[in-house]
Amino acid sequence: MKLTHILPLLTLATATAVSAAPESFDFKDPKGVNNAVFSLDAPLESVNGSASGISGTVSFDPENPGATTGKIVVAAESMTVPNPMQKEHLHSANWLDVAKYPEISFEAKSLANVKTDADVTSADVTGTFTLHGVAKDITVPVKLSYLKGKLSARVPSLKGDLLVLRATFSINRDDFNIQKGQYEDKVSPTINLTLSIAGAAVK
């Protein structure tokens, strides 16, 4: 076989291997849009807020979404509520103690019930959720949208792909030793969380 015949085959094989490799998506958003929304029921008005300090990486293979792994980190200090007194309480040592536990994280271990339709994958992700210094394994329904070549539409100076991750789930503050069994008549023990974040894989 001549070199001129081998070269295109090698190029094709290399290109296939490259496209099949998992991509690493960085979730530190230069546009600051990524956010985690939280809400807790309370008698007068539910406590609603959000956190913007999101970072982490996710390894995602569009050819094999079921093999997705990664870790998302939320800076506890970035959690904000519109009422200044509630924010002070939230950050204090009595509640989240952000000085002692600066990070809230979720590390994906495995995916189940993986369903892919075009570029959208839904799955139940099991992983370790760490909050207030307590790590607990939980399963979260997640939707992943793979936006191939769309990075330049967000950041014109960069080329690459985007991965949008959405998840809505609930946790119980008692499980994470946050005022366990206390003030349940004033602040619900159930914390509702909604994660809407985009990661970029620069090429």
Binding site: K31, N34, N35, V37, S50, T80, V164
Partner: protein
């Protein structure tokens, strides 16, 4: 003094209620910032930023009511001034 305190109480109550009503009669707690949502057209994610804005809530209204109540209550410690005091040994 009695009259001044009662007028002040009315003023505090009216001002508190007017501010609360004018800013949208927020039936929750007082807020010093409000979330502003912006849609990222590429990802479809709604970004949240906080804009500084004073939004009085029911605690603000309660504080105005309590302030007015204190002023009105304090007015009872003052006796009504007698209009025409007559000398006692008038013969």
């Amino acid at each position: 003094m009695k009259r001044i305190l009662r007028l002040l109480a009315l003023l505090v109550l009216m001002a508190g209620a007017s501010i609360w009503l004018a800013t949208g009669a927020n039936r929750g707690w007082t807020k010093t910032s409000v979330p502003v949502r912006t849609l990222d057209a590429v990802t479809g994610i709604e970004g949240i930023t906080y804009q500084e804005k004073f939004l009085p809530g029911v605690d603000f209204l309660g504080a105005a009511l309590a302030g007015a109540g204190l002023l009105a209550g304090a007015s009872f410690f003052f006796r009504k001034a007698k209009a025409n005091q007559q000398p006692q040994n008038q013969k």
